[in-house]
């Protein structure tokens, strides 16, 4: 019995040394998975996922604390990409996918209070105190964060306009094939 204990303790001691050495020698510094997750997120920075922005959400996902389907702006695409990256099963997006919107300021009503400007996470609003504010269309992520703060309710969300160049073919519906038109 003593031999048993001794033998195994010795074995463990040797292995312990080895492992201790290995653990020091090969410490992983940063978590590259966070960056990978972050790269997939849409960077709307809207906070709908319950985290203060995309990067914190990415960290939470990497830590295994958050599910991968909490980003409504990202929709199905992001869930699938995350599922793929992390080897988890894809599931429907929490809250469902949303139509793409951008904000627009009614320039006649704006009083130039700069509140929206402070709220915008991506600096897509231009203006200065007491001056009319404008949203740079190409930069607005449609996060809606500026809508709430406006004291005169002059910001509204409108769907992004589709042009022939940005139009996408609809997903085929099985039964529409070979149906005559005109």
């Amino acid at each position: 019995m003593l031999t048993a204990i001794l033998a195994l303790a010795l074995l463990a001691l040797v292995f312990g040394l080895l492992l201790g050495y290995a653990s020091i020698r090969f410490k992983v510094d940063s978590d590259p998975i966070v960056d990978k997750v972050d790269a997939i997120l849409p960077q709307t920075q809207c906070g709908q996922c319950g985290f203060p922005g995309c990067h914190p959400y990415a960290e939470a996902i990497a830590r295994g604390e958050a599910d991968i389907n909490m980003c409504p702006p990202g929709g199905e695409t992001v869930v699938m990409a995350l599922a793929d990256l992390l080897g988890r099963d894809a599931k429907p997006v929490e809250g469902g996918a949303k139509e793409k919107m951008i904000a627009i300021i009614d320039e006649q009503t704006c009083i130039g209070c700069t509140l929206c400007l402070q709220a915008c996470p991506v600096d897509a609003i231009l203006g200065a105190a007491k001056q009319m504010h404008t949203i740079i269309e190409s930069e607005c992520t449609g996060c809606e964060l500026c809508v709430e703060p406006c004291p005169v309710d002059c910001i509204s969300m409108i769907p992004v306009k589709v042009a022939p160049a940005t139009w996408t073919w609809p997903y085929p519906v099985a039964t529409t094939q070979k149906q005559p038109n005109a």
Binding site: W169, P170, P172, V173, T176, Q177, K178, Q179, N181
Partner: protein, 344 residues
């Protein structure tokens, strides 16, 4: 604004799934007639039970999934599955055996994956193997071919047997069944008989089993018709038959008393059916031409290995399932070179 957007092309060729499946059915008819002539009415009853079960179970799943039933049933694939399974089963099988196998084929091997086109395994062979491993006794008692059985059953008697398991008084199952040529070969080789001794037995014909040669010929006929109608291509059958024939020749030359002749191998068991009707199943097989060759060669090798050294007298069904398993990987590694991409 248009209501629905219709994409080009605005023309369509003559091919459609139902036609393809129907052609397979037609191609099977000569072999079925031959089987009925050789093995008796049991074959017909198997067919009827299988078809009824296949359609019913497919309809049941579709109903559960709230999918259109009639349109789907009309694609004919369940019919093909049922027919192929039915002629692979022992002619005097009880009805429940046929029904269990067919239902498993349709429900588990096909519909659970989403139905026609999605199943990774060949449904008919999945059903067959299920029966083989679950009910080996029922699956190994084959009706003796015409001329070799000491008694004959009429249609009603066979029906009665299938439904209730009873035989007319004074008739025993032994009088109606006999071991198949492959089974006999395997068992007797196990008893250290030589091939030529075994081949001298009454159930053997010119080069294969008595009667089996004819059936295989009829299947070959149907298969050639399929080839001619361009339902299948030559790759799979040639690869299967070629590789099996080649290996069999090789071993036969090494020791003819231990290894049966290539002709015997080609004309026995399910090889012809497998090569022309089963391995050619587009859904569960490999798609690319090169992939089909790999698929067929793999099948030929497996058939020979299982027959010669494995536990089962015939290996066609297993070979099909095993190659089905490999088909996605084969497809992945045999992609054609795309226009404008470098070789390799």
């Amino acid at each position: 604004m248009p209501t629905t957007i219709i994409s080009s092309p605005h023309l369509h060729g003559p091919a459609n799934v139902s036609n393809v499946m129907l052609r397979v059915v037609y191609a099977l008819l000569p072999a079925i007639a031959g089987c009925i002539w050789l093995f008796g009415w049991g074959v017909l009853i198997n067919l009827l039970v299988a078809i009824a079960t296949a359609l019913a179970s497919e309809a049941a799943v579709l109903a559960l999934r709230r999918r259109p039933i009639l349109i789907t049933l009309r694609d004919g694939s369940a019919l093909v599955t049922a027919m192929l399974l039915a002629i692979a089963l022992p002619p005097l099988a009880p009805w429940w055996l046929v029904a269990v196998g067919t239902a498993f084929a349709i429900v588990f091997a096909k519909q659970l994956y989403g139905g026609l086109g999605f199943n990774p395994f060949n449904p008919a062979m999945a059903g067959y193997v299920l029966l083989l491993v679950s009910f080996p006794q029922e699956m190994t008692s084959w009706a003796a071919p015409a001329g070799l059985r000491s008694a004959d059953l009429g249609l009603v008697q066979v029906l009665l047997h299938s439904l209730t398991g009873t035989l007319p008084a004074g008739m025993s199952m032994d009088a109606l069944t006999s071991a198949t040529p492959l089974d006999t070969l395997k068992v007797q080789l196990g008893m250290s008989h030589t091939v030529s001794e075994i081949r001298g037995g009454p159930i053997f014909g010119l080069f294969g089993g008595k009667g089996w040669e004819i059936i295989n010929g009829l299947i070959l006929l149907g298969g050639l018709w399929l080839l001619w109608r361009r339902v299948i291509t030559w790759h799979v059958p040639v690869a299967v038959l070629g590789s099996l024939g080649l290996i069999a020749t090789l071993f036969h030359l090494i020791n003819p008393e231990l290894y049966a002749s290539p002709l015997f191998h080609l004309a026995s068991g399910g090889v012809m059916l497998g090569a022309f009707f089963i391995a050619t199943d587009p859904v569960s097989g490999a798609t690319s031409r090169r992939g089909q060759l790999v698929f067929g060669v793999g099948m030929g090798i497996l058939i020979y290995v299982i027959r010669s050294w494995g536990g089962f007298p015939d290996g066609v069904a297993f070979a099909v399932l095993l190659m089905n398993m490999a088909a996605p990987a084969i497809d992945y590694y045999t992609q054609p070179r795309v226009y404008g991409h470098n070789r390799g």
